[in-house]
């Protein structure tokens, strides 16, 4: 298992390099200009100077290599400096955002906690709701519970979050006034009251995202349970006189979890990626909102770095899913 993991990790290096080049080239070839959003009152000569000061004067391969160096050398060294108080990265160029002219990684570090609390919480709640719903729906297939569960899952899966988000705001913020429509990103949780405020402002975005996640995962769970419930080994277990509880939760559930674990694990990078639309609707200052504003502003270094980090996470969690297979199903061996 260890050699498998190591081999996969080594293999991911060329994969990631290729991905980084592809991202860079796509951004390079895409039309757009970081000074396009500036007012027309700024004269063309000044625009040209701004473009030069952003480093856009250099040919693209030079810019790509500079970015690679900054991403793999300068930024890790800088993180080390920040941790140990050393001075390795002094004077070297970090990756700077076009919009704010500040280091991209500082902004990401500032945004990550919000994304993890809101989107992560929504994912967790989604999974916690989806798994029991999937199990019961499958075990009591075509019962009223299954029918209602299917209906809600269909709604949650097919209604887009920009609709549910605004709908919840109109109902719960505008008409009932129960929850705020704008997430207060300056709130510091240091007391019971501020914790309650935090819970209140998280309720709507988490509800929107949890519904979407739960809908998706509960369908997988149900399908996977149904596959297993009709297998021979289930009949054998029952014939041996095992109780329903043991049959369902020990035999069927464990086998059914394999595809579900893949889906859940592959969804985790999505948590880090933030929820672009929901974050924008509720103004949560997470990574999704960061990415979309960077795309609007043609902030190439930010978009490049964020998408590449997502690529790393996806490669990594694919590996995690593979390793978890082995743990759940002893028949699967990679050596």
């Amino acid at each position: 298992m260890l050699t498998f993991t190591l081999r996969r990790l080594l293999l991911s290096i060329p994969t990631l390099l290729a991905i980084s080049l592809v991202i860079f080239l796509i951004l390079e070839l895409a039309p757009g200009d970081p000074v396009a959003s500036m007012p027309l009152t700024i004269p063309p000569e000044v625009r040209e100077k701004i473009r030069e000061s952003l480093g856009l004067g250099a040919p693209f391969h030079v810019r790509y290599l500079l970015w690679l160096k900054a991403f793999f050398v300068t930024e890790p060294l800088h993180a080390l400096d920040a941790l140990l108080g050393t001075d390795f990265a002094a004077g070297s160029q970090r990756i700077l955002s076009f919009q704010s002219r500040s280091p991209v990684f500082d902004i990401i570090a500032e945004r990550l906690p919000q994304t993890l609390t809101v989107v992560g919480m929504a994912y967790l709640i989604g999974v916690l709701i989806a798994v029991p719903i999937g199990i019961i729906s499958a075990y009591r297939q075509y019962s009223w519970f299954d029918q209602i569960g299917t209906l809600i899952a269909m709604l949650g899966y097919s209604v887009p979050t920009f609709f549910t988000g605004v709908l919840l705001i109109v109902v719960f913020s505008v008409h009932l006034g129960w929850f705020p429509s704008i997430y207060d990103t300056t709130l510091v949780v240091d007391s019971w009251d501020s914790f309650l405020l935090q819970v209140r402002q998280m309720t709507l975005p988490v509800a929107v995202l949890a519904l979407y996640n739960a809908a998706q995962i509960s369908r997988f769970m149900r399908a996977s349970m149904l596959d297993n419930l009709h297998q021979d080994y289930v009949r054998t277990a029952r014939a041996k006189g095992m109780g329903e509880r043991v049959v369902v939760f020990v035999h069927v559930l464990r086998n059914s979890m394999i595809p579900v674990v893949t889906v859940v694990a592959l969804g985790v990078p999505g948590v880090f990626g933030g929820a672009i639309i929901t974050e924008q609707v509720f103004k949560v200052n997470g990574l999704g909102q960061l990415l979309i504003t960077a795309i609007y502003g043609n902030d190439v270094p930010m978009v490049q770095t964020l998408t590449f980090i997502f690529a790393i996470l996806i490669v990594l969690f694919n590996l995690v899913a593979d390793v978890l297979y082995g743990l759940l199903d002893p028949r699967i061996r990679y050596d």
């Binding site: 000074v35 396009a36 500036m38 700024i42 625009r47 000061s53 924008q280 103004k283």
Partner: protein, 566 residues
Amino acid sequence: MRLKLILLATAAALAGAGPAHAERGADGHVNVIYWQAPSILNPFLSGGTKDIESASLVIEPLAGYDEKGVLFPRLAESIPTVENGGVSADLTTITWKLKPGLLWSDGTPVTSADVVFSWEYCTHPEGGCAQLGAFEGVKTVEAVDDLTVKVTFDAQKPVPYGPFVGGQSPIIQKAQFADCLGTKAPECTAANFGPIGTGPFKVVDFKTNDVIQLEANPHYRDPAKPAFATMTFKGGGDAAAAGRAVLETGEFDYAWNLQLAPDVLKGMAAAGKGEAMSAFGTLVERIEMNLTDPSPSLPEGERSTAKHPHPILSDLKVRKALSMAIDRALLVEVGYGQAGRPTCNIVPAPAMFASDNTDCLKQDIEGAKALLTEAGWVPGPDGVRVKDGMRLKLLYQTSVNAVRQDFQALIKQWWSEIGVETELKSIDASVYFGADPGSPDTFQRFYADVEMYANNFNGTDPQAYLASYTCEKAPKPETQWQGENINRYCDPAYDALVAELGKTADLTKRTEIAKKLNEMLTKETYTIVPLVDRGRVSARSNSLGGVVLNTWDTELWNAADWYRIK
């Protein structure tokens, strides 16, 4: 102190619902929302309006414009003029005097060295300063004494109020930015995110593209202001959400620039929690005519250049007919509501510079038809006019934007009524307004017959704006398609008049020339067809007092005077 408070309270009570200017910080907290989030608080490193306006709460210029477009001193003691000797008689220097006793928010004194440094900072050749335009023509800026600064121009400058005037050209603290010149500018993140200033507020915490927390500047020059102790400046989302937060849920006190459909805005205001305010500046939505041939059959490098005049639009009668067919009042009703009014001028304001040209306001379909017939364009079998075998067909481009697409559809309809076939094209704004010389879709390149966008000018003097239509400013391949004379308009008489404007100091004379230039571009040649004078709509909650909407400077120009209505 108590006596003063009682007196003030009595005075306030006598004044009815007037502001209770008790003391600094007495009114607690105020929430402001901009649907575009500020990225940086250093306007020199960003041209974005959101950045300039948020920074204007913290750093200030020597002088600013009020809601009528009149200059008033901020850090300066008074506005220098030729009469008071502040501007030299030959119009080449302007001498500013700082108010005595000004302090930065860290308690150190503001001196002329800071003003000189602000100029050095922006004009550093490697800095990429976005506000370089304000310093155009400036030869030197020198400190005469601790409180006096002399700006010398390299030529006559009839309107010397470019440098250090308005939110785009603030004074930054030398001590804070001394190590941030040129290529080092972006490395000073702490300074760029938290400039030390002289404004009513100072930065407590800045989260880029998200939120700014501010508190009252303890060293602000008026000891009774600002009334608010703290401010949250939230950014991001969309105009509808920002409007909702002020007008419907009441979570915020002020929302900036609500570009919303008129009926949407009306619906929100009906909730009764706030009001939508509007004011007009110089922003004009217009159609620009291409006077050169954009035909793809021409070789690259000659397309849309002065070498080939436009086969259809070179004829004044055609351009005029196209303008006559448009019902501007309907465009306003559909697209802008209270935030727009029909106009025939590209300089719609200030009032003294605005021509009384109203010819275009009435739609005249029959007149337009007659004019086209007169020009030799006769209706063909399918209703589209033809002349010498050529169909009267135009490509009409603009940026992707719901209102602009509505306008395109309406105008296409009116033009089809007079026998003009129109092909519509909409381009993503980041490409259209981007200046990529390799892209065929930029508005400068103008590979279309007519195009629509909005433009305005900073401050109140239209000289630089009108000067952008001189012959040599036409975008062409030799200049990497840079240039502001989008139409490739070229008239030696116009160029001569622009040069004269540059030498004229007398205000009455200036307004005459400016009006003439405006008319040459609009009603005399129909090179530019103005459509809508676009105002600004912002919203305030019913409990926020002292707000005066200003389109001549940053909208937050008088945040020091804001107070809570109790």
